[in-house]
Amino acid sequence: MNRRTFLRHGVGSVAGLAALSGCIGTPGDSGQTLTVAAYSSFTGDGTAGNWLKSAFESENPETTVTFQTTENGVNEFIQRRSQGAPIDADLFVGLNTGELVRADQQLDDSLFAASGDRIDGSETVKSALDFDPAGRVVPYDTGYISLVYDAEEVDEPATFDTLLKPQYENELLTQNAEGSDPGRAFLLWTINQKGPDGYLDYWSQLTDNGIQILSDWGTAYEAYQDEEASMVVSYSTDQVYYHGDDVDISRHQVGFLNDQGYANPEGMAQFADADNPELAREFMSFMLSEKAQAEIATRNVQFPAVEGVDPGGDFGEFALEPPEAVTYSYDDLVGNVGGWIDDWARQIVSN
């Protein structure tokens, strides 16, 4: 932690109590420091976050970009707001539709400011990815949820209904929709296909056919690599990691059920009480520039959100886009998503 952030977060120490370290917040000199809140893997050696920091700083020499990472994602800021604790960041990076719905449902006043049309370049974002009707969140990349399967073990499952056939028994791994992004996307995709009245019935058939629901993507993918099953819910970018002569490409086939993929766009938004709203918007605008979009895509291994950007390299060559992208909008999810997921989880656990 450098000296500036040290002062900014007002870390001091309180003498006295035996086993305490303390921090005293003081209104710091914000100056030209932009604080970006993100999940912890956004920053670090070789990440999109670090590239953005150095590129933005070199274009704006008087500006310093610092990261405030959290283990709990946007939940930490929702709780800070509802408890009246300070939010020492200017913008949040890495927000998806479900999280925005949750933030709005928990708080009376929005956590984020409407700034969409004041951000240069926001009009270039693919409209299909735009998920915030109030114009607060601007998507900067997206993943497409799909199946990854082993072509030597199973035929490509063409539709959701084929997954119920005996040849796919005990062959599908997914993730807990309550805690995992791809798991949630897959569940929402099934609701999109089977309808809010039909998805539970479909899932009870999936369960009968031996679908396994693990905690997170990493665990499920590890189990897939250990050949515990021949299909795993994952991303359509799988072959970006796995291609070339020393790779058995049949184990990395991407399957688009019903010729679709479920889009899970990630967005960014300026906090309503940001110290540096203008700087935050400049940074967001920078993230939408063609150069930044290509870098974010290759470093995050996600598709650019801006129309017409080709990231090139391995990503350009090996990332597969579904013929048709489906996703639920904010308005579809609001008031529904909590109940959908809760009913689903209760059915799985009670089984």
Partner: protein, 594 residues
């Protein structure tokens, strides 16, 4: 001098209680409070909502919703031939915890027998590393277990060579229970070994001289002295597996969800009242169990004199000795232990040297070196993480040992309420880690405004305090039985000769219970090294990151593709560093013991 020294005890207790209140009771209370209060008023609504929901409590829900109907339902159930009753999520969680406890004790006890009663090369090393599983992050245990017990794992390969199998245990209750045994059987082994090693040889020999056959001497003399340790270990195992969380979803899947899994999901959805209610019920059940156990323990501990320790039998004494049924049993046990404990750990090391295609690689270690060399913002240096882990571990050890001994002194004090006090002071074992983490976030990390200043409690000292609080109950659970086993006459004699209470404690009692103290110290260190939830919350940026935090960050790093290679390399480092530390603790402890 005497007056000054005797004031040390109350001062120590006051300092400890202050720390406990700030880093534990206040954060936990701030969360659990919402289970019983709303808008400043006491309410039972959240509890009734959970207990009256058949999803949570199954058939028992009518206890809350329609108590009057119970006798009728009971008669109907008996008439129906007493079919299996479903007790919902709580019922399933308790059921798997019970099975896990039985298996953990079954696997752990022979280990204690081997370590306490036999002499063989490497015995001390083996004893030092028994609690290694304690520090293993669940994601790596899952990796090791898949490699051992998976469809294409080592066990199935071995079975296939003798024409058996394959056995499919992945995603079943069986593998979750095995994983629970992996974590908890070492706890049983370590606790019971410490007790077994302090069994007085004279009492056993007296029994033998009076004509008791070995088995009878064991049953009547040795076993009663082991029962407190066995029961302590069982109660702890039950509580830990009752509160089990990440390993369940990693190896078993959502169908086998425990209450804690469900609680975590409620926290993620910010349904905090329901989460708090689940946490409060878990805590009440766990604390209740601890209290009942402590009441029982108080009646069990027999004073054992401070005689000679029994000499161990050589494990290898010529080829003929190999046919001895006891030794045969021990060898068979070693085979099981090799598969269950050594297997997953070795698999982890192997995975850290293997590409997804099965080829040898050093890439994952090169990754660690690259992280070490990098000065990029937000990068966790492995070496810094190792040093932090060791420093925090030492700090936690230094705090947890006196805290644990203090609680033991309170607990062994003859007086009404001392068992109740100990149960309350053992609460860190009985509270869900998720509830504690949420509480810390909302109080210590968010802070509070005092005289216009924002006061937060984070950073290294807060981390050490949090680790010490998670660890001291382990010291207490090792020390209390040993301390109450000391012959009162020794203490009385010292007091009569003019020694005050602290002097008696330090000069007489502690040296007498050295094995229990060393075991407690090793546990305290292990808890600190393995701790993740509080550490990651209280760390300010990457500067206070520990080995498990580094490991978790490396799992999300995709620079070498979507695999856990970098994490397994860091896990191997974690294993090596921890093994060295345990050996050092045991060696230092034993020098002091002599």
């Amino acid at each position: 001098m005497r007056a000054k020294a005797s004031r040390l005890l109350p001062v120590g207790i006051a300092a400890m209680l202050t720390t406990l209140v700030v880093v534990f009771y206040y954060p936990v209370g701030s969360v659990l409070g919402s289970a019983i209060s709303a808008g400043g008023r006491l309410t039972l609504d959240p509890l009734v909502a959970v207990l009256g929901d058949p999803f949570y409590t199954g058939s028992a829900h009518s206890l809350v919703t329609a108590p009057a109907s119970l006798p009728g339902r009971f008669v109907a159930w008996v008439n129906a031939g007493m079919p299996a009753v479903d007790f919902g999520l709580f019922g399933f969680t308790a059921y798997q915890a019970l099975l896990s406890t039985i298996v953990s004790v079954g696997v752990g006890l022979p280990g204690a027998y081997l370590l306490a009663r036999f002499e063989f090369p490497g015995r001390e090393f083996l004893r030092s590393v028994t609690i290694l599983p304690f520090v293993m992050p669940s994601i790596l245990v899952a990796v090791g277990f898949l490699a051992m017990f998976g469809r294409t794992g080592v066990v199935n390969d071995l079975l296939a060579t003798v024409g058996l199998g394959p056995v499919n245990v992945v995603f079943t209750l069986e593998i979750v229970i095995l994983a629970h045994a992996f974590y908890n059987a070492p706890l049983v082994t370590r606790l019971v070994t410490a007790a077994w090693e302090s069994v007085d040889t004279r009492s056993v020999e007296t029994a033998r001289t009076l004509g008791a056959p070995p088995l009878r001497a064991f049953r009547d003399v040795t076993l009663p002295q082991l029962v407190p340790a066995i029961l302590t270990a069982s109660v702890l195992t039950f509580i830990f597996t009752f509160l089990s969380f990440p390993i369940v979803l990693a190896l078993g899947g959502l169908q086998l969800a425990t209450v804690e899994v469900w609680l975590f999901a409620r926290v993620q959805n910010l349904e905090l009242v329901e989460a708090a209610t689940l946490g409060a019920i878990e805590t009440a059940l766990s604390l209740g169990l601890i209290y009942i156990y402590l009441r029982f323990e108080a009646t069990q501990i027999s004073t054992h004199g401070q005689g000679q320790l029994r000499s161990r039998l050589p494990l290898f004494a010529g080829w003929r000795s190999m046919l001895d049924p006891r030794r045969l049993g021990v060898f068979l046990y070693c085979l099981v232990a090799a598969v269950l404990f050594v297997g997953p750990l070795v698999s982890l090391v192997v995975e850290s040297l293997t590409t997804p295609n099965g080829a040898f690689t050093l890439d994952y270690y090169a990754f660690l070196l690259a992280q070490q060399a990098s000065a990029a913002v937000g990068t966790i240096n492995p070496l810094a993480a190792i040093i932090n882990s060791l420093l925090f571990g030492l700090g936690a050890l230094a705090l947890a040992l006196p805290m644990g001994v203090l609680v033991s002194v309170v607990a062994t004090h003859e007086g009404s309420g001392s068992r109740f006090a100990e149960a309350l002071l053992t609460a860190p074992l009985a509270v869900s880690g998720i509830v504690l983490g949420l509480g810390m976030l909302r109080t210590l990390v968010f802070g509070t405004t005092v005289f216009g200043h924002r006061l937060t409690v984070t950073g290294p000292i807060a981390i050490v305090a949090a680790h010490a609080i998670a660890a001291y109950p382990f010291v207490t659970r090792n020390v209390t039985p040993a301390l109450s086993g000391i012959d009162d006459r020794l203490v009385d004699a010292a007091r009569a000769l003019g020694a005050d209470r602290p002097t008696v404690l330090v000069d007489i009692e502690l040296p007498l219970i050295a094995p229990a103290l060393i075991a407690g110290a090793a546990f305290a260190f292990a808890i600190s090294i393995g701790e993740f939830d509080s550490t990651v919350l209280l760390a300010e940026g990457v500067d206070s990151a520990t080995m498990p935090v580094a490991l978790e960050r490396y799992t999300a790093n995709r620079s070498l593709g979507p695999n856990l290679g970098p994490a397994t390399a860091m896990g191997t480092v974690l294993l090596a560093v921890t093994t060295g530390s345990f050996m050092l603790i045991d060696r230092t402890g034993r020098r002091w013991e002599r």
